[in-house]
């Protein structure tokens, strides 16, 4: 028991945040969320804007007080503690760097507030500047920095006091594409080097998948699914998660048999295949939605256990081709084909084709 308690960095216990008077008239930003984030983890809260991910982060930071529930930092209750008494630091969305201070004054601010002695502060500041690879900019004013540099200062400032948990509120959203890619691996490196637990908020699913150890997908204030990026991508439990992360086909089907997690699904077109049931969900039967990733589909010569269809549209996207295919049921299905050498058969619009489905590719959704 004790062992487990110390291992979780942040524990959110059935926490609710309502803006306004009550559930009926106010806005429920975070709705009965429970989460456990382990020490040393790169944890991402992923969801569209307004899903409550930032509010949850602010509850942990202490900028907001939960309406209900409790939040624990390494087993200690945080309720009622003002932000300046919590050893978590935040990297703000627009950095919130102090414009009247230099880079090093910004970085040393937290350390000064903690009453650390000057020599120690100077050492830490230069170590932080090394860490974010900009020691030559120590005496610059904030408005003399580029967006990427400001980002690094914000990181250094938040890391300097060596917080137990670092909160990052969409820190990359203001950067352009190339810089964002660069900062993604930079953040990953920083997390590895410092060993600090990172809680990262983003609406960018690709960012979430590439950087995180675990991802929590949020919608309407609730956490829909928590898991490793791979799990969430391959086995989305709910239609929203499937839709939100990556490109996906959602088809109607009927569960014809379920046995201990193994199931057979009959699609509307008559195709029957093995399907994976969502984890931790009780009895489902009858007509369900199933999800299949476009890259799990391929063209086949055989008519045996394949889906017949007619190619409607072909789009070239650089590393491969994207097909829109109309099935006999009238449903449209997406198929993605990577170009590997010249081995791929080329099809053209209007052609009749047979589509094969990879093993374990059919995921049954809860709704």
């Amino acid at each position: 028991m004790l062992e487990k308690a110390t291992r979780s960095a942040i524990e959110v216990r059935s926490t609710t945040k309502i803006y306004g008077n009550d559930r009926a008239s106010g806005v429920v930003a975070v709705d009965d969320v429970s989460l456990e984030i382990t020490d040393n983890e790169f944890f991402t809260l992923l969801g569209p804007s307004g899903c409550g991910k930032t509010t949850l982060l602010r509850l942990i930071a202490g900028f907001e007080q939960p309406t209900q529930g409790e939040i624990l930092l390494f087993g200690e209750h945080l309720e009622g503690l003002p932000p300046h008494n919590r050893s978590v630091n935040t990297v703000f969305q627009h950095y919130a760097l102090f414009p009247h201070m230099t880079v090093s004054q910004n970085i040393s601010f937290g350390l000064e507030m903690l009453g650390i002695d000057k020599i120690e502060i100077r050492k830490t500041v230069s170590r932080m500047l090394e860490l974010v690879q900009m020691p030559q900019l120590a005496d610059r004013k904030i408005n003399q920095l580029s967006g990427g540099q400001q980002q690094r200062v914000a990181l250094a400032r938040a890391l300097a006091p060596n917080p137990k948990v670092l909160l990052l509120d969409e820190p990359l959203s203001a950067l352009d594409f190339k810089l964002r890619k660069e900062m993604q691996s930079e953040l990953k490196r920083l997390q590895n080097e410092t060993g600090i637990t990172f809680i990262f908020v983003t609406h960018d699913q690709e960012e979430a998948l590439t950087m995180s150890d675990r991802v929590a997908v949020m919608k309407d204030g609730q956490v829909l699914q928590v898991g490793k990026p791979r799990e969430v991508y391959d086995h989305p439990a709910q239609r929203f998660v499937a839709d939100f992360i990556g490109d996906i086909n959602i088809l109607r089907g009927e569960l014809i048999s379920t046995k201990k997690g193994e199931a057979k699904v009959k699609l509307a077109s008559g195709f029957v295949g093995d399907a994976i049931l969502p984890i931790g969900v009780g009895d489902i039967s009858g007509v369900v939605n199933v999800a299949i990733r476009p890259e799990q589909l391929s063209f086949s010569n055989s008519t045996n256990s394949t889906l017949p269809g007619i190619i409607k549209e072909i789009t070239y996207f650089g590393s491969g081709l994207h097909y829109e295919i109309e099935l006999s049921t009238g449903e449209t299905i997406k198929l993605r084909q990577q170009s590997v050498g010249r081995s791929n058969t080329e099809f053209s619009s209007g052609e009749t084709v047979n589509i094969a489905v990879a093993d374990d590719a059919i995921q049954v959704l809860v709704d």
Partner: protein, 284 residues
């Protein structure tokens, strides 16, 4: 004035520019001319050697020297300064405190009412406020026997508060709340957040507010006319009295100096008033 001497090329460019509206530039330059021409005439008169103030004879700074040595002007200037400085300090302090509440605390019941009260002196004609203050002070003076310049200073403080409040509030509203949150996040106690982040960042707003309060106090005529007791003649009241008696070159000189000081202060406010944004992302 370069627009009046537009080249043909410029005309074509303007005609093609969809934003351009015909005649608007002329109205603007003419209006600016009308706004400034009378002031230039005053300055010109003030340097005229002739006493008659009608015809120009020769350049002279005599009237400035005379005005400088005029005891009436000296004491009026000192009274104006005393009233304005004290009213400025008080109103700026009060306005800063109020602005902190109205921008830095979550909305609460009665917030709009407090803002409305603070802005109230702007809504009521000066002469009505003057009458009300005169009567109110007369009642107090009769009841307590108190007297003195404190009454005038109090009246000035009241109408200076909204003027000081405006730029301070604007500045605070422009300051991203996340800066203060970032400081709190970095272990600064509320007092430290105020000292290290809020105060230095709001300073330009406070300075603008203080200067505005000073200007409106120093410029005031109507309230001082009603509330000021005997021996409390401010500089504008002195000038008004002189104008009523007839135009004199000495008044021209004093007025020119007065205007000059106002212009310098307004220039400073203008420079302070356009703060560099405190939101770094905008500066890119």
């Amino acid at each position: 004035m370069s627009d009046l001497s537009n080249t043909a090329h410029n005309k074509v460019r303007q005609a093609k520019d969809l934003k351009y509206q015909p005649g608007f530039s002329y109205i603007t330059w003419l209006a600016l001319f009308i706004l400034y021409a009378p002031i230039l005439i005053l300055v010109l008169y003030s340097f005229n050697a002739n006493r008659s103030v009608v015809v120009w004879t020769s350049f002279s700074t005599d009237w400035y020297v005379k005005a400088w040595h005029n005891e009436g002007i000296q004491s009026a200037a000192l009274i104006s300064l005393e009233v304005a400085v004290i009213a400025m300090v008080l109103s700026t302090t009060f306005a800063t405190m109020a602005a902190l509440v109205t921008t830095r605390t979550p909305p609460y019941k009665g917030m709009n009412i407090s803002i409305a009260i603070i802005n109230q002196p702007l809504m009521i004609p000066e002469i009505v406020t003057a009458v009300a203050t005169l009567i109110f002070f007369a009642v107090i003076k009769k009841a307590t026997g108190a007297n003195g310049i404190g009454f005038l200073i109090t009246a000035h403080t009241v109408f200076c508060i909204p003027f000081a409040y405006m730029p301070i509030r604007a500045r605070l509203e422009d300051m991203d709340l996340s800066l203060e949150q970032a400081a709190a996040d970095l272990y600064a106690s509320p007092l430290m957040v105020f000292k290290r982040v809020t105060l230095p960042l709001m300073m330009p707003g406070v300075l603008s507010g203080a200067m505005l309060a000073f200007i409106v106090s120093v410029d005031d005529v109507v309230i001082s006319l009603f509330v000021g007791g005997p021996g409390e003649t401010t500089l504008p009241l002195y000038i008004l009295g002189q104008i009523r008696r007839g135009v004199t070159p000495e008044v021209n000189a004093v007025s020119t100096v007065f205007l000059g000081i106002s212009v310098i202060l307004v220039t400073l406010i203008f420079l302070f008033g356009r703060p560099k944004s405190t939101r770094p992302e905008k500066s890119q």
